[in-house]
Each structure stands twice: as structure tokens, then as C-alpha cells.
């Protein structure tokens, strides 16, 4: 693509990010009883996403939440490549036999204070995959979840609401 066409496209597209709406008290997320987001995570939370055995539906919604339209970066959230850099572990899907150990290792490799966010119905009650021989359990069986985002898959707005519950922006 030529430089001129790219510049024309940038000016034509302008700002595609939707304005942030007020999440309101009945936002579609489950916050653990007594969960208080760590003070140091106000305005900045790096996210490590772990796919513990998801069908990739939630992944598409997470990609949308961090894309230009929902733009999670304005909340101070950013996807990072290493759990050592992360403050927030976002887990999707049921926990399969093969991912149980990597999931535990990822959570252990995240420095304190950390927040565990589970995304999608599979993380609570295993959804359509309940009872399969490949499933070791749901995320709740392995770790204490601070914020749960229900939905199959959850809308990007719900993922944004979960991030806002942690960064409070």
C-alpha cells in the first residue's frame, strides 16, 4: 500500500474507539466476596492470558477487547508476553489434564500482588465440556478466582468491565 493511500486511510478512519460507557452497579461480572483490588494496580494492570483449554471463542472476544474499538489500553491494561511482567492472570476455558500444571506454574510465576480473572462459562462448571475424560476440572478447582466474567462467550464490554473493576479507571 502506498504511503499516500495509508495516510488517506488513517485520516478517513479517524478515531474508531467507542466512548467508554459507565459500567453501572449491575455490570455483568462476578466479583469475589470481599475482593479489594490491590492499591498499586490502580490505573495500570498488565494482563497475562492463559488458555487452559478453551474453544477459542473467548480468545476472539479478548482480542476484540484489546482491539481498536474497545481499546482496553486506555484503562491502563496491556497484554504481556510473560507472567513475570503480569499483574493479572486472565484464564479462559476448562482446565484440561495437560494444562493443569502449566496453569499452576503461570500463577506461581506472577509476582504478588496479583489478580486472577476467569473469562467465560467454561471456567465455572466446565460448560459444554463437563465430564470429558480430557478435563481435569474448572478454574475454581485450581485457584481462587477474584473476578469472573460469565458468558459463552462473554461480550467484550464484560471483559472491559472486569478490567475496570481492577484498574478502577
Amino acid at each position: 500500500m502506498s504511503l499516500v493511500r495509508l495516510i488517506a486511510m488513517i485520516t478517513r478512519a479517524g478515531r474508531v474507539a467507542e466512548p467508554l460507557s459507565d459500567p453501572g452497579p449491575d455490570a455483568a461480572i462476578d466479583v469475589r466476596e470481599g475482593f479489594e483490588p490491590p492499591a498499586c494496580l490502580r490505573g495500570s494492570a498488565q494482563v497475562r492470558h492463559v488458555d487452559a483449554g478453551s474453544c477459542n471463542g473467548c480468545e476472539i472476544e479478548i482480542a476484540a477487547a484489546f482491539g481498536p474499538v474497545y481499546d482496553a489500553e486506555r484503562l491502563g491494561a496491556r497484554l504481556v508476553a510473560s507472567p513475570r511482567h503480569a499483574d493479572l492472570v486472565a484464564i479462559t476455558g476448562v482446565v484440561t489434564q495437560n494444562m493443569a500444571e502449566p496453569l499452576r506454574n503461570t500463577i506461581d510465576a506472577t509476582p504478588e500482588p496479583r489478580v486472577i480473572v476467569s473469562i467465560g462459562d467454561c471456567t465455572r462448571g466446565c460448560g459444554a465440556f463437563a465430564g470429558s475424560y480430557a478435563v481435569a476440572g474448572s478454574v475454581d478447582d485450581f485457584t481462587e478466582v477474584d473476578v469472573h466474567v460469565p458468558g459463552c462467550p462473554p461480550a467484550p464490554e464484560a471483559i472491559i468491565a472486569a478490567l475496570r473493576a481492577v484498574t478502577r479507571r
Binding site: R74, L79, E112
Partner: protein, 314 residues
């Protein structure tokens, strides 16, 4: 002497204050051109403050390198900011502001980073370190040669003296020697600070990482030092380049007005240069790793031509 100490402290304070803002400006420019809103100019500040509040988590069995390498990088970057004429050309008497000293201090931080990458023991860390050292080996001769070309009319290789001479004699700004050397230096800044097209600072693909691959295993406070140290290198190198390219309004004494004007001018020059760099990054893709040496060799040729031309011009 006291004036020189004041100037050094002003340099350090200026660098510490402006660096996260510079990174924030670069991210915001990039976000706006991509149609996003972005985290805002102050987001890097929030990120590092948070990192310093977190416990550093180090892998079991790792040695003390994980502790001192981030501190060494931060210290070398601070020394770099103190030696480079960012706001004023007044230098600490007795402190070596020589070109070779500055390049060595730069190299100290690079080696600390490479050691850290090797210490993590993962394949990606070692890969990042080896790539980083390859870039360094190709970049350092260019830095030396291009600043050497600029030092010829000044007759000294002390950076503060070079900047002062260029500010006082504006005829040295617009000639082939100066332009070739500045273009070579810009490529150096891009390569040394891990920006596109040499390295992508926002990549998540381990195979394409250079800088990120080395710091994958550091977290919490350690990561805070590493991030801030690498950002300070950007401020120092970019500050040196813009002050060599447009050496206007740089203070030469330690009076409050001169320092204020110098700091404001330096901040403006740095923000404009950083915004330009970020805008250009939107239009280019990362180079294949094996094409990067061609780019760096090209910048070396420019620096070499600049030195050759300086014998014809001066």
C-alpha cells in the same frame, strides 16, 4: 564547580522526569494513528510506579546477576544522562565527557542486559542476548565514526565541547558532513533503543523479540529498573542526536533562566523527535533479522562517508 554540579543534577532530574512522558507520547501518537485512544501520556509513569511496588520474583536457582544487572543498567543509563549535554553544555571538571567514555558506559548497560538474558536460562533469553550483542557490534563503530566526523570541526572529542562548537558556529550544521553523520546517528538510536524496524517493542511473539526476550524472566522491581533504564537510554541517545542536529537554546552556564530555557527547549525537541519516530513506526514493518545488518552497515557507510567528506570540507 558548584555550577557544574547544579547542571549535572538538572540533567539527571530532567532525564528522570521527561523519560516516561517521552515513552507516553510515543505510545499515544501510535495509538491515535491506529484509531485508538491509548493509555495517555502519563501511562508509563503509572506502570513503573506500580512495578516498584511489586515484589521481584526470581526463578529458583538463579544467581545474583538477576539482582545486579537491572541496577547496573539503571546506573549506566543515569551516568549516560549526566555526561550527555541535554540541557547545558557545562561539564563537570574532571568528569570524562569523552566520546569513548560515553560509548563505553552505553556498552556497560548493553552487557548487563545481555548477561541478564543469559542468566534466565531459557532459550529465548539467550537468543535475545546473542541478537542484541550482534546489533551492538554493528552499531558501536557507527556511533564512534559519526560523532568523530562531527568532532573534527570542533577539534575535540568531548561531547559537550562538540555541541557547544556547533551551537556557536551554525555554519557547521548544514553541510554534507553533518547531515550524513546525523542520519547515521538516527539509525543508531533506532537500533540501540529497540524501536521499529530493528525490534518491535510491543511484540508478543518470542521468536521475533530482541529486547523483550532478554527481560522475559524479570518481574516486579527488577523489571521496573530494566524498563526505566532502557527508556533513559532512549532519552540520552535521542537527546544527544537532537542537540547535535539542532543545537539551539542549549544553556552554557548555570543561571536559572538559561537552564529553564534550555530544559524547555530540550523537552520540546525531544517530544517532537519522539512523536516523529512513533509516527514513522506506524508506516513500517519490522525488518527480517538477517536484513538488519544491511541497514546497520548502511548507516556505517554513511558515517564513513561523513568522515571522508569532513577531510574535504574542513
Amino acid at each position: 564547580m558548584i555550577a557544574a554540579i547544579v547542571v549535572t543534577l538538572v540533567h539527571l532530574a530532567f532525564a528522570l522526569a521527561i523519560t516516561p512522558v517521552l515513552i507516553g507520547v510515543m505510545r499515544t501518537v501510535r495509538a491515535r494513528l491506529e484509531g485508538r485512544v491509548g493509555g495517555g501520556v502519563l501511562q508509563p509513569w503509572r506502570d513503573v510506579i506500580k512495578l516498584f511496588a511489586k515484589e521481584p520474583l526470581r526463578a529458583p536457582g538463579s544467581s545474583a546477576v538477576l539482582i545486579w544487572a537491572p541496577l547496573l543498567l539503571m546506573a549506566s543509563s543515569l551516568v549516560l544522562c549526566a555526561l550527555i549535554p541535554l540541557v547545558s553544555t557545562l561539564s563537570l571538571p574532571g568528569a570524562p565527557g569523552e566520546l569513548f567514555v560515553v560509548v563505553s558506559v552505553l556498552l556497560l548497560g548493553t552487557v548487563a542486559l545481555a548477561m541478564l538474558g543469559l542468566e534466565s536460562g531459557t532459550a529465548f533469553g539467550g537468543m535475545g542476548s546473542s541478537r542484541h550483542m550482534m546489533f551492538t557490534a554493528l552499531v558501536e563503530p557507527t556511533v564512534l565514526l559519526s560523532i568523530y566526523a562531527l568532532s573534527l570541526p570542533a577539534g575535540t572529542s568531548t561531547l559537550t565541547a562538540i555541541v557547544r562548537a556547533r551551537r556557536d558556529d551554525l555554519s557547521t550544521l548544514l553541510n554534507p558532513v553533518s547531515i550524513l553523520a546525523i542520519v547515521a546517528l538516527i539509525v543508531v538510536v533506532v537500533a540501540e533503543t529497540g524501536r521499529l524496524p530493528v525490534d518491535n517493542p510491543s511484540t508478543h511473539l518470542e521468536l521475533t523479540m530482541v529486547h523483550e526476550a532478554m527481560i522475559l524472566e524479570s518481574g516486579g522491581r527488577d523489571l521496573g529498573w530494566l524498563e526505566f533504564g532502557s527508556w533513559l537510554r532512549l532519552t540520552a541517545l535521542l537527546g544527544l542526536t537532537v542537540n547535535l542536529a539542532v543545537p539551539w537554546a542549549i544553556a552554557s552556564d548555570a543561571s536559572a533562566t538559561a537552564l529553564l530555557i534550555g530544559a524547555a527547549a530540550a523537552a520540546l525537541k525531544l517530544v517532537v523527535a519522539a512523536a516523529l519516530m512513533a509516527a514513522v513506526e506506524v508506516f513500517i514493518a519490522k525488518l527480517r533479522l538477517f536484513r538488519v545488518p544491511e541497514l546497520l552497515a548502511g548507516s556505517f557507510v554513511l558515517a564513513f562517508l561523513s568522515v571522508s567528506a569532513s577531510y574535504l570540507v574542513f
